[in-house]
């Protein structure tokens, strides 16, 4: 959020509080569009539902400015092909890359710090090829670019994080929705584990607090939760097609807590089932009360 947006939002929300309820629609029109907090789009084409979701939120130009260096952070954690739903859908990733360039981005970088061998995860997930075809700079993480950073979180005081994320003008998080042993589900905030260096397994001791610490440090401009296929068993890496459900859905939003909160409902859960959502909400990082959010649902 730049200063201008901040001032505009502050004025608008200030105005909203003082005006009678009936005036709200006019205000949102004044804001440029009838913008929802979250867009949930369902449809057969991963690329089309992705661009439709971004469109509902005001289009990529709202998030990416001309000349920006953008990091698009998918989950490329595992040596699995797309139909196993262990990594973000490659078509979703490629579409986001195209939209960023369409909005005038100077460079779009795509990378992840995988658990399995990076060569295999990049290749087998289909993400490296799809993102590169869309013009992204796809690279393996370079160990030298992890720098100890003062996170000043509740649990993580300092941790080596990937400098390209911190130095980027805009960061777009595109996780995939999966079940996960220690974290129950892995959604948006959990995806930040992929920018951590060092011996990451240690954060399992206080996983929820640690994830919120990182999420607070790296605020994304946009989050697209890929639920084209979700993993309902054997997460986070699956391995059997029977572990996968096809939902043909993406959820997009700017509030990473809200996106994750709505993401839990894909699994028939409530937002407070996830510790990191509860903690992030009470820390003021975002809003987990789905009933208070404007959600635009669309099927194309």
């Amino acid at each position: 959020m730049n200063r201008r947006d901040f001032l505009k939002n502050a004025v608008m929300s200030g105005a909203a509080l003082t005006l009678p309820l009936g005036m709200a629609p006019f205000l949102s029109m004044a804001e440029g569009a009838d913008r929802p907090d979250l867009a949930v789009v369902r449809g057969a084409s991963p690329a089309r539902i992705t661009s439709a979701a971004v469109n509902e939120l005001g289009g990529m130009r709202r998030f990416v400015s001309r000349g920006d260096i953008v990091v698009v952070k998918p989950n490329i954690g595992w040596d699995r092909t797309p139909e196993y739903a262990a990594n973000t859908n490659p078509e979703v990733v490629a579409e986001i890359v195209r939209l960023c360039y369409g909005a005038g981005a100077k460079k779009v970088k795509v990378f992840d710090h995988p658990v399995s061998d990076a060569r295999r995860t990049y290749k087998q997930s289909g993400i490296a090829a799809a993102a590169a075809a869309a013009g992204a700079q796809v690279s393996f993480v370079d160990e030298r670019k992890f720098k100890e950073m003062a996170i000043k979180g509740q649990i993580l005081k300092t941790w080596p994080l990937y400098t390209e994320i911190i130095e980027a003008d805009k960061v777009i998080n595109i996780p995939i929705a999966k079940v996960h042993g220690i974290a129950t589900l892995t959604l948006g905030m959990k995806n930040w584990m992929g920018i951590m260096g060092g011996w990451r397994g240690r954060i399992h001791q206080r996983i929820d607090e640690s994830l919120v610490d990182i999420a607070r440090f790296v605020k994304p401009s946009l989050v697209i939760l890929d639920a084209v296929r979700i993993l309902v068993e054997n997460g986070p890496q699956g391995g059997s097609l029977s572990d996968v459900r096809r939902l043909d859905t993406v959820i997009a939003g700017t509030d990473q807590v809200a996106v994750d909160a709505l993401g839990t409902t894909l699994f028939g859960m409530k937002p407070d089932a996830l510790g990191c959502i509860r903690i992030a909400h009470s820390a003021g990082l975002g809003n987990m009360n789905i009933s208070r959010l404007r959600i635009k649902r669309l099927t194309i």
Partner: protein, 530 residues
């Protein structure tokens, strides 16, 4: 182009082909490598012959080995002089030797040492006949690939990486930009994906550099005196049709001897008869380098096809041959008087790669070339020392603390030249156990310290996961209730890949470890009833 230049061209071409295939022996992320990286080992008749003798079974492709045999029978040791990449490296290293010795001393050198290689060959073949495969330790191609994989390439990578990392940390504007550009290019071409690190890299490297250094004593020392493959090819080339002939114009000046890459052009002791001996030629010792052709001032030397001219007899000495035979026979019990073969007494950390044959057969097939270790995606495959007995030295063992076996990777089986590691498809791989993981409850965080963890469960690659957890309510020292997930291993599902051990946050001595108990390849080393 003279024949000599043609030979140089061939040597360069094959060396570059070899090195290029060596660089391709690395994952690019696909399931298949896409290049026949073991083609040189396929063409190696010593590996082929000893493997067949030791394992008493045929294996894989042998068309190339037969081709080498036929080519040698017709043309002599062209493989040594024109193709062998180690031979070419020796040829180059030999150039470092000063050429200050007068002609006469050429004759004075270690003329009888050439027998060593035949005696070594005898030893290796007899040992193979009795079921011990030791040829890989001395075979020039296995030796070269092993040395490059485990020592030379890691040194190369380490040197370049530390140089570019140094420039990177200086962070001087234009220099660093340039160096990073070059580094990026090198990473895509010559450098390995990650720095290879191997146990015993230093010893294997020292042996290799020592062998190269022997060229300073005498050029192509290895090829002339030690190489068992050279000996085998020498025996095959005794009746080769391509022969060297010297016309009556020869005045015995000895110029031809200086360039000789073999020990082909002289025998006997130095003395009055030297000049006559210049005409003499041992086909078995000739590397067909053709160095003797051009410099002859009388133009008396020529190579051509002929069937006449009986080859000089190979005199190794009956006692020496008998000794090698006996040594080869004695090596078998000497290497086997170890309790390692007893059920339950084998080294439990000897986790063999997936697709490895049962240990006894594995040792008869493995030629210790190190291809599997070179290609291993996580670097977990390491050379053994004596875990598998001395017979199994430098054979592959998975060390999960260093790297695990990637669940869907089958590269080690694809590069194994002798089928010691079978080539598996993905279904077979998923069903192949290389061991079993077990939890050390005294170190595991949720068991021993009431702390949350289960990294092992997260990374377990099977579906359903072999590692499952039980939710338990415990109390901490202040009586507060803690809800914990405690991991357990389902031994029927565990394949022993070791990723749990690799990623276990309890470093050094992990809380979950894999041993080879339960490995599919063994009939006896089993735990489960069914």
């Amino acid at each position: 182009m003279t024949m000599k230049n043609l030979r140089r061209f061939s040597q360069t071409l094959f060396l570059l082909l070899f090195l290029w295939l060596f660089l391709q022996t690395e994952s690019k992320g696909a399931n298949e490598l896409g290049y026949p990286v073991k083609i040189f080992l396929d063409a190696d008749p010593l590996i082929w012959l000893t493997t067949i003798l030791a394992s008493r079974s045929f294996y894989g492709v042998f068309a190339l080995a037969i081709t080498t045999i036929v080519a040698t029978a017709l043309l002599g040791r062209v493989f040594c002089g024109w193709i062998c990449p180690l031979g070419t490296l020796h040829h180059l290293a030999g150039k470092l030797k000063k050429r200050t010795i007068p002609n006469k001393q050429v004759f004075l050198r270690s003329q009888n040492l050439y027998r060593i290689k035949y005696l070594l060959l005898t030893f290796l073949i007899v040992a193979a006949l009795f079921g011990v495969q030791l040829a890989g330790l001395f075979d020039p191609l296995a030796l070269l690939i092993r040395s490059l994989s485990l020592a030379v390439y890691p040194i190369f990578s380490y040197t370049l990486r530390s140089f570019f990392d140094g420039v990177y940390t200086w962070d001087i504007k234009f220099i660093t930009v340039g160096s990073e550009f070059i580094y990026g290019f090198l990473k895509k071409t010559l450098l390995p994906f990650s720095q290879p690190l191997f146990f015993q890299g230093i010893f294997i490297g020292l042996i290799f550099f020592l062998i190269l250094a022997l060229n300073l004593r005498e050029k192509r020392f290895w090829c002339k005196y030690l190489c068992p493959l050279g000996a085998l090819l020498g025996l095959l080339s005794r009746y080769a049709l391509l022969k060297r002939s010297v016309s009556e114009d020869c005045d015995g000046c000895g110029v031809c001897l200086r360039g000789c890459q073999g020990v082909a052009c002289f025998s006997g002791s130095p003395g009055g008869a030297i000049l006559d001996k210049v005409k003499e030629w041992k086909s078995a010792e000739c590397l067909v380098c053709l160095n003797c052709d051009d410099p002859c001032p009388k133009n008396a030397v020529s190579f051509g096809f002929s069937r006449k001219q009986a080859p000089a007899a190979l005199d190794l000495g009956k006692r020496r041959v008998l000794s090698s035979v006996l040594a080869g026979m004695a090596a078998v019990p000497l290497l086997r008087i170890t309790p390692l073969a007893k059920v339950g007494a084998a080294e439990p950390t000897l986790i063999r790669p997936p697709g490895a044959l049962a240990e006894e057969m594995f040792l008869k097939r493995c030629v210790k070339c190190g291809e599997c270790m070179k290609v291993c995606i996580t670097g977990g495959l390491q050379p053994t020392f004596i875990e598998a007995g001395l017979e199994g030295i430098w054979s592959p063992v998975l060390v999960p603390r260093i790297g695990y076996c990637e669940y869907r990777c089958t590269l080690c089986g694809q590069v194994c030249p002798t089928g010691a590691i079978r080539k598996l498809n993905l279904e077979e791989k998923a069903a192949t156990k290389i061991g079993l993981a077990m939890i050390d409850k005294g170190r595991c965080l949720p068991f021993a310290h009431n702390m949350s963890c289960i990294v092992c469960e997260e990374v377990c690659p099977t579906s359903p996961k072999a590692i499952w957890f039980e939710e338990v309510r415990l109390r901490d020292r202040y009586g507060r209730e803690v809800l914990l997930k405690q991991p357990h291993v389902d031994l029927s599902l565990c394949v022993g890949c070791g990723i749990c051990e690799t990623k276990c946050p309890v470093l050094g001595r992990p809380a979950i470890t894999v041993t080879n108990l339960g490995e599919s390849r063994s009939k006896d080393n089993q735990l489960l009833l069914s």
